[in-house]
């Protein structure tokens, strides 16, 4: 038996297939992408979160208008650290702020007025993204036709996203909806001003804490022209010409492979998967891209320059971190993105977990896992606590919601969703990553955890 039922789950044995102890002789993947057990204290969010928060939200010059009661807009206002070089998308929060009256009589008029007013107040907005929340789906506002009407009136694209929170089982469906909507309604609606034989899009890179600002120049130094980043620090105008890329590379392979596939199917643009975390994986990504564009020498030159600059720093941190054991709990891809880089620092990942991983995410985890590695799908607070206490990792990389639970148990923690002091991507980012692990693990604060006050 490779699935496990932890003690806290004895009353809810449905959780058993979701928790796996890795056995290379008998590989079993955790059950995934299914409904959460109600009341299990899940860490999951909703479809709206995946659409508005992850994929659509980073587009810096779109007015991000949330159609629904106030909460959903407020909670996604500047929270995820998807940085940009302009302020509109993080400084402002737009909501139709639906109240009881709209729930009874419909929110169509309020939505139409809100789109028009937002455009009038913020003419710098190049498009309006309209996100539907739970109640909109239930009361049945015809957001498609309202957006169409508004678009005719204001003359800029108004894009409806049908991302009601109750759809699907997690954030994951929201990613898919955002991809499909942007592909169907935006990609191909404009041609690039010019094309070159070296045009490429970086897909599934959301510029968390500036990741895109680290990785984009690496490819540019190789002689590749980055046509668009989907969607980190992206302008709305960057999305329409994506179909003219010669190659797409996909970093977040959970949230964004959808659009790479759709572009491949419709426009014949190939895509390759990359991991832009860690020295080896980033170098591999540069080599793969170099090979595609026949820029192998350029790739090697950039890699050599970066390694010369940053490898000594990584070696320094490896000396301090060698032999440590960690847990990684992320949305999905960063769980397996980071298993390899951890080994570059001498760290073994003894437990991985993902909030909304699919089968392919867990396959990638198992490819990298050692025997005895624990893998949890859609973990909940009690499971996380139980495994932290039982396995005592040297540190845990998770999200803000798990941070303080972990601290209270006296275990070092790193925020892997929005980072501590990122960026973490690319060669340079990996130094920040290593440094943050060093700070977490080697801070003197932990010595006080079990240091009682005694009168001797």
């Amino acid at each position: 038996m490779t699935t496990i039922l932890p003690e806290c789950d004895i009353p809810i044995p449905q959780r058993k297939p979701h928790i796996v102890c890795h056995d290379p002789e008998n590989i079993v993947l955790p059950m995934c992408n299914v409904q959460t057990v109600p009341g299990d204290m899940t860490e999951r969010g909703c479809t709206f979160a995946g659409c508005r928060g992850v994929v659509g939200g980073p587009v810096k010059d779109a007015i991000q208008l949330v159609h629904g009661p106030i909460g959903c807009a407020y909670y996604t206002w500047g929270t995820r650290r998807n940085l940009s070089d302009t302020k509109l998308h993080r400084k402002y929060c737009f909501s139709t702020d639906l109240t009881e009256e709209s729930v009874i009589y419909g929110g169509a008029k309020k939505l139409l007025n809100s789109i028009i007013e937002s455009h009038e107040l913020f003419p710098e907005g190049k498009a309006v993204f309209v996100y539907s929340t739970c109640v909109v789906g239930l009361i049945g506002d015809d957001t498609d036709s309202i957006c169409k009407q508004a678009q005719e009136k204001i003359g800029i694209p108004v894009i409806p996203f049908h991302c009601e929170g109750f759809r699907g089982v997690s954030q994951s469906l929201g990613h898919h909806i955002a991809n499909r909507t942007l592909f169907e309604k935006v990609v191909g609606t404009a041609e690039p001003q010019e094309t070159t034989p070296y045009d490429m899009c970086i897909v599934g890179e959301f510029n968390i804490d500036g990741d895109a600002w680290i990785v984009k120049p690496l490819f540019e130094r190789m002689g590749v022209r980055v046509l668009s980043v989907f969607t980190g620090n992206a302008s709305y105008d960057d999305i329409p010409p994506m179909h003219r890329a010669k190659l797409n590379i996909v970093q977040c392979q959970r949230s964004s492979t959808y659009i790479a596939k759709m572009i491949q199917e419709k426009y014949g643009v190939p895509y390759i998967n990359v991991s832009l975390f860690g020295m080896e994986q980033t170098a591999q990504a540069l080599r793969d891209v170099g090979k595609f564009f026949h820029l192998e020498e350029n790739a090697e030159k950039v890699i050599a320059e970066e390694l010369a600059k940053y490898q000594p720093l990584i070696d320094h941190y490896r000396n301090k971190l060698d032999g440590k054991k960690c847990f990684i709990y992320q949305g999905a891809p960063r769980a397996w993105h980071w298993m390899g880089p951890m080994r570059e620092l001498g760290i073994e990942t003894i437990l991985t977990a993902t909030t909304f991983g699919h089968k392919d995410d867990y396959e990638k985890i198992m490819e990298k896992a050692k025997p005895g590695h624990i893998c949890i799908d859609n973990p909940n607070a009690l499971e996380i606590e139980e495994y932290l206490v039982k396995m005592k990792p040297d540190f845990f990389i998770g999200g803000l919601k798990e941070k303080y639970l972990t601290y209270k148990l006296g275990i070092p923690f790193i925020n892997g969703h929005s980072y501590e002091e990122g960026p973490y991507a690319g060669f340079e980012g990996f130094v920040n990553f290593a440094k943050d692990i060093d700070v977490a693990v080697n801070s003197p604060v932990w010595k006080f955890i079990n240091h009682p006050l005694e009168v001797r």
Binding site: D40, T47, G71, V103, L138, K401, I449
Partner: protein, 454 residues
């Protein structure tokens, strides 16, 4: 108990005329309801809605208090939209109960469960077996009505109405806190201790959302602290109820109507006069005398006001946040000789404008009152009426930066500074702290250092 407020006949307030809301300093009901439940000992909040409805409030609690905030959710999905959410809620109650064995489960509804029309009271009742020790609070908190404060109010009233039972007089005073910080609650408790008055806090997050790391283990999922169910039940037998936050006063009204517990709906105890009223109310309700230590604390606040009046006189200050806190701070700023130019709240409350108007009459100030509007409008009014200091939560950062003035943080959420939740801005001591924060913000911002040597 009589109201000390007298409303001026006509009050001019600015209300938003736009359809679109831009930069709202307000959240939805489940957010507040969760905070109310987190102040109850052994109570697990359970959100009946989509998964975002628990995740987002948890995120906000975690970043403000820097504490773990564990909340259950019924994980409603498409099938619930068609068939209703009873199955999910029943299973969620069962699972929370069997795994955590809590004293209680505090349910809050959402826009989804309210729109599909689940009868949460009935579902909760059916989920309990006869003789069950666990209690369930079925609060109705639709996200499309009111704000986070409405949710706090509804959850608190549901708590009290579910538990309160008439018994022997307990000689205690009920304190309705509203959404304030652990530091505030500890300061109020300290004052009551000095006055030798017993109390029941409705509710009390001072320990559950400010937990120590103790040697030998910790229970992060269900932390110690909070008001016990038996104390909440006993609130029917108290000498009276004081509401620090009148927006959360419906529990007090309910106790008054059902159990004749007197209710003093006074402003929040911030500044000299408002804290005086709080102390006077405690004395009136309990018969307590004002101890010397309280007199000294009050004297230190007055000493602090005297020390800084040259710096503060006439300084323009714009304030936004929850209505009870904002109106009390407006009065305190006026007491300090400042000029409160703009006062804004997103949550409407009948006392907000009259409170501020009374300050304006008394101190000859002219505060622009904004109610039920957003920070976009607040910013526009700040531009026209001026501000040398802004008081509000972390959402005021961009406005303060744009205006080139300092922001002193209070309220919820404050996520871009540490420790704000630890300190009190209430009572005489808390007011001193707030005054010092405001003064130091002004002195630290483009103030000629040559003027600060003596």
């Amino acid at each position: 108990m009589t109201l000390m407020n007298e409303s001026p006949a006509s009050i001019k307030t600015v209300r938003k005329t736009r359809s679109v809301t831009i930069n709202p300093p307000k959240m939805c009901q489940p957010m507040g309801a969760i905070l109310a439940y987190m102040g109850v000992h052994g109570c697990v909040p359970l959100v009946h809605g989509s998964q975002g409805c628990s995740t987002y409030p948890r995120y906000n609690i975690a970043r403000h208090f820097r504490e773990s905030a564990e909340v259950a959710v019924s994980s409603l999905a498409e099938d619930a939209a068609v068939y209703g959410g009873a199955k999910n809620l029943t299973e969620a109650i069962k699972n929370v109960k069997s795994r955590l064995n809590p004293a209680a489960i505090g349910i809050c509804t959402t826009c989804m469960s309210e729109t599909i029309g689940d009868d949460v009271k009935l579902i909760s009742k059916n989920a309990l077996t006869p003789g069950d020790a666990m209690r369930i609070f079925p609060a109705s908190t639709p996200s499309y009505v009111g704000t986070h404060l409405t949710g706090y109010d509804n959850a608190l009233r549901t708590l009290v109405e579910t538990l309160a039972v008439k018994g022997e007089p307990n000689n205690k005073i009920n304190i309705i806190t509203g959404i304030i910080n652990p530091g505030d609650i500890r300061e109020i408790k300290n004052m009551l201790r000095l006055m030798n008055v017993q109390s029941i806090f409705l509710s009390d997050i001072s320990e559950t959302l400010d937990t120590p790391i103790l040697p030998g283990g910790h229970k992060p999922v269900l932390p110690d602290g909070g008001t016990s169910l038996s104390d909440i039940a006993d609130s029917a037998n108290s000498l009276g109820t004081l509401a620090i936050c009148r927006s959360a006063g419906s529990a007090a009204t309910s106790l008054m109507k059902k159990f004749n517990v007197p209710y003093a709906p006074d402003p929040a105890p911030i500044g000299v006069i408002n804290t005086d009223r709080f102390v006077q109310n405690i004395c009136k309700l309990s018969g307590a005398m004002i101890p010397d230590e309280i007199i000294k604390e009050r004297g230190r606040l007055i000493d602090s006001l005297v020390d800084v009046h040259h710096y503060m006189y006439g300084k323009k200050v714009a304030i936004f946040g929850d209505p009870d806190l904002v109106s009390a701070i407006v009065r305190f700023c006026a007491e300090a000789g400042m000029n409160p130019t703009v006062a804004m709240t997103a949550t409407k409350h009948k006392d907000f404008a009259p409170d501020i108007k009374a300050v304006n009459t008394e101190y000859k100030t002219d505060t622009q009152i904004l109610e039920g509007t957003d920070l976009y409008e607040f910013h526009e009014v700040v531009k026209t009426h001026g501000a040398e200091l802004i008081l509000g939560n972390s959402k005021g950062k961009d406005i303060a930066d744009d205006e080139g003035v300092p922001l002193v943080r209070f309220g919820f959420p404050v996520y871009d500074r540490v420790g704000v939740y630890r300190y009190s801005i209430m009572g005489y001591n808390g007011s001193i702290y707030l005054l010092d924060q405001m003064t130091n913000a002004i002195l630290g911002h483009k103030y000629d250092p040559n003027k600060l040597h003596q």
